[in-house]
């Protein structure tokens, strides 16, 4: 009680309240840059509670003390301003000066210690993977960044080319919308190998959202969304250098350099190079276990921050990759009749962003633009495949509010254009699509307790006509220790069977494409519960979620009907995925973090009239990840074990089965030790510690020109244990 008296604010100079009342905390909220301006509709509440009020037309507020805990802090927030937390000082009217946010992005989450951040405030169930987490693994590129993530799987799609794919909820990565700073990336031709084109040291963080996502970024996310944030000019790093090498004779080098010309103009240059120096064939099938990849990758981005707020950005990217695989020696002696694969890719991108802040606090306009040119020339044995793709994207997002940050909205228009030309041997394929669209998304935010995010968009496709995408998210946190979420929404996607599956050419199967493939359409619904409990000195976080994806239209890839063909046809019947996941995060004592997860998947699809389990899809997936940092962060030890459940194989030939009907469960272990010495970091690690490999990754590898040759029957690692070493050097701007 005495403490509460200490909070009493005496309103000597209060204009709105003539009588000082010791049952209330009173004050006025104003703008820091212009204290004459009151902030109307600001949220004022006791930290950790939902007891609060809003400021009136004069910026004044009055909040009852009876609900406040002793030693409580007062939180003052308003859209477009930095949230302020303060103690109620006795003896004065509170003068709260809110500082304008010059960034358009939502409040930056400053979470350094933990590598994984499970958001409790976002209405969409999301994980944030920080640079700290990215350094737990060798993390050469985006695909390897998900090694310690329970929700995203990385699957090899074939045993020859080394193409990799993200999988979420047991479904193909093409149903996950991959974004680069909220703009589409890795679409169409870039899908099979694109994960390898995002170098680890370029990334600042990755956000992974499960289930349906916001309509602001488009209609494409059917099972989830992955957004990569790259390091930005004006960040803390001036110079970053990384070198990596492994026992399979692959080396990589990265160099990032930032320069600030002034407080308002800055740039960063990113350079990445990698090379596989030698053909490796440890399983003796005469095929390379890993493709020989030579890649040069470049990005340069510029930031301009106008004095009056907002920001402007522009950047370019350029990539050249030569990927060679197939039989060892296929390129040394063209006359020897060996099977070889050669894929040469050139890709150029440009992007620009412009953020404009308006005079009315909390209102802004964001403009995003990106364009890309992609060219691929490839030879798979005797098959020739070439593809070129031009893509453009434009999105304008206006953000506003209805009087306070209780009710905010985003609305805008977008345009997506793809021009894809492909040629398989002598057959040309052309696919053009222009999609103008518009969206509106309403957000209700009751002081961290209840959120509603309801959005919808209407798009018109020149190929598929008009379509409507509604999506809704609800988040409810009745108490601080529990967060419940539910979501439902639709998603659409243009199928590009050849561009997205051209790695299937590394087999003797004939690709059969049914004419008039329809736009894919699915409904995703899901719910999750997140609980944080005190256990010992630390908090234990438990998460359980279930997501169900039901396809209304889908392009089915069928490999069961005939071992010599792969069919792409419109779904006729049921197709769904149900995925239940539980996850535990705990820090038993300072420095040691434990992350354990298990996911059960039920993925079924109608193929040739029968509802069957999707082939090459594991029934479960488990992960246990342990990380230990010493007190001064000088040493770090990481250990991750992944449990992959077995599953069904595409049907083998009934009279002459060349593979089994099922594949077995298997375990992979990753470990890494990191040593930090001021600006330097040294690491040594191992992938696939138990040296687990598939016995026969390529079917009929002895006869690549024969009818049974097939590189697509892959469910596990082709290459065994890999030992690597690396170093990082980082110079910060204050050094």
């Amino acid at each position: 009680m005495i403490r509460k008296v200490g909070f009493i604010v005496i309103g000597l100079i209060i204009s709105n309240y003539s009588i000082a009342d010791n049952r209330y905390v009173m004050g006025v909220v104003r703008e820091k840059d212009n204290p004459a301006l009151p902030v109307v509709g600001a949220n004022i509440y006791w930290a950790g509670t939902s007891k609060g009020t809003t400021s009136d037309s004069m910026g004044a507020f009055r909040l009852a003390l009876e609900n406040a805990l002793p030693d409580a802090r007062l939180v003052v927030s308003f859209v477009g301003f930095r949230t302020d937390t303060l103690f109620a000082v006795p003896g004065n009217e509170l003068q709260v000066l809110l500082e304008r946010n010059t960034e358009l992005d939502e409040v930056l989450i400053r979470e350094r210690r933990k590598g994984v951040y499970l958001s409790t405030l976002d209405p969409v169930q999301s994980h944030k993977v920080t640079a700290t987490e990215l350094q737990k693994a060798a993390c050469c590129n985006l695909s390897e960044s998900f090694e310690t993530n329970a929700s995203v799987d990385i699957a090899f799609t074939d045993a020859v080319t080394g193409a990799q794919q993200i999988r979420m909820l047991g479904l193909s990565g093409t149903y996950v919308q991959t974004l680069s700073e909220n703009m589409p990336m890795l679409r169409g031709l870039a899908a099979p190998y694109g994960l390898g084109w995002v170098p680890g040291p370029w990334m600042e963080s990755i956000q992974i959202s499960k289930g349906t996502s916001s309509v602001v970024n488009g209609y494409e996310a059917l099972t989830g969304q992955i957004n990569v944030e790259f390091k930005k000019p004006g960040g803390t790093e001036v110079l970053h250098f990384n070198a990596y090498g492994n026992d399979a004779l692959k080396t990589e080098a990265n160099l990032n350099y930032s320069h600030s010309f002034s407080d308002s103009l800055m740039t960063t240059v990113f350079l990445h190079g990698e090379n596989q120096w030698k053909a490796i064939d440890l399983n003796g099938d005469r095929f390379m276990d890993l493709p020989n990849v030579r890649q040069i990758n470049f990005m340069n981005r510029w930031n301009f921050i106008p004095k009056r707020g907002g920001h402007r950005e522009i950047g370019i990217k350029a990539l050249n990759e030569l990927r060679r695989s197939g039989q060892v020696g296929a390129f040394g002696d063209p006359g020897a009749g060996l099977y070889g694969i050669e894929i040469e890719t050139r890709r150029y991108e440009i992007f620009a962003k412009n953020g404009i802040l308006f005079d009315r606090p909390g209102t802004s306009l964001g403009l995003q633009f990106s364009g890309s040119f992609h060219d691929q020339q490839s030879v798979y044995g005797l098959k020739q495949y070439t593809g070129t793709q031009y893509s453009v994207y434009f999105n304008a997002i206006y953000q506003g509010h209805f009087g306070s940050d209780l009710h905010t909205y985003k609305t805008g228009i977008s345009f997506l254009g793809d021009w894809l030309d492909e040629r398989l041997d002598d057959r040309p394929f052309r696919n053009q699509e222009l999609v103008p669209g518009g969206f509106f998304e309403y957000s209700y935010n009751l002081i961290h307790r209840l959120n509603l995010l309801a959005g919808s968009r209407i798009d018109y496709s020149t190929r598929y006509g008009l379509f409507f995408t509604p999506r809704v998210h609800v988040r409810w946190s009745p108490q601080d220790w529990i967060t419940i979420r539910a979501s439902a929404g639709k998603g659409f996607r243009k199928p590009l069977p050849l561009a997205e599956n051209h790695y299937l050419l590394a087999s003797s199967r004939t690709l059969v494409l049914e004419p008039d493939l329809r736009q894919e359409e699915a409904v995703n619904t899901g719910a999750s519960i997140q609980i944080t409990l005190p256990l010992g000195e630390r908090e234990l976080t438990l998460v359980a979620d279930y997501y169900y994806t039901r396809f209304l239209h889908q392009v089915v890839r069928e490999m069961d009907r005939d071992v010599q063909r792969v069919y792409f046809s419109n779904l006729d019947g049921l197709s769904y995925s149900g995925a239940f996941q539980t996850e535990l995060l705990y820090e038993p004592f300072r420095g040691l973090t434990l992350n354990a997860a298990w996911r059960w998947m039920d993925v079924k699809q109608t193929q040739n009239g029968i509802v069957r389990a999707l082939p090459l899809t594991s029934r479960y997936k488990g992960m246990v990840s342990l990380s230990y940092k010493t007190r001064l962060n000088k040493w770090q030890f990481d250990l991750t074990t992944q449990f992959n459940g077995g599953g069904r194989m595409p049907d083998p030939d009934p009279t002459d089965p060349l593979w089994k009907e099922e594949y077995p469960p298997f375990t992979e272990v990753y470990a890494q030790i990191t040593k930090r010495i001021k600006r330097w970091e040294f690491y040594v690690g191992v992938e696939n510690l138990f040296d687990f490999t598939m016995d026969q990754p390529i079917i009929a590898a002895h006869d690549p020109w024969g009818k049974n040759f097939d590189g697509s029957m892959v469910w596990g690692p082709v290459h065994g244990r890999k030992i690597y070493v690396g170093l990082r050097y980082t110079l910060h701007h204050w050094e």
């Binding site: 930095r82 803390t236 342990l626 510690l689």
Partner: protein, 120 residues
């Protein structure tokens, strides 16, 4: 269990043993003292700068930084360094540090003295 699995299992056990042993030896030992310093830091970059330098000062064994309270709690070997040397180390990287008058042991309940605000 084949050879591969033996090697793998062995390595896993060694790594877990290292983690556990390091955490056990991480507890405070003799000749170590923990003191709280008030430091004039006000930004996230300051925390990074301190984290990147103070741990490499001679004798420093642990560091806990609170940007909210503008304090650094340092555990150090009394035979290798001194509070004065640590204050000097902060000076070298551009921060003014002083020993907090009320150290954790004799920390009083002083809610009424609190003032100031913290950006979230």
């Amino acid at each position: 269990m084949n050879m591969k699995q033996k090697v793998g299992t062995g390595s896993v056990l060694v790594i877990i043993a290292i983690m556990l042993s390091m955490s056990v030896f991480g507890k405070e030992r003799k000749n170590e003292k923990t003191l709280v310093f008030t430091v004039n830091m006000d930004c996230h970059a300051c925390v990074q700068k301190i984290e990147g330098n103070i741990p490499y000062e001679k004798g420093v064994k642990d560091l806990k930084i609170s940007l909210d309270d503008k304090t650094c709690e340092i555990t150090f070997r009394t035979d290798k360094t001194s509070p004065e040397a640590l204050v000097k180390a902060f000076g070298k990287i551009g921060y003014k540090a002083e020993l907090k008058t009320d150290q954790p042991e004799e920390k009083k309940d002083n809610n009424e003295d609190h003032e100031g605000h913290i950006h979230q």
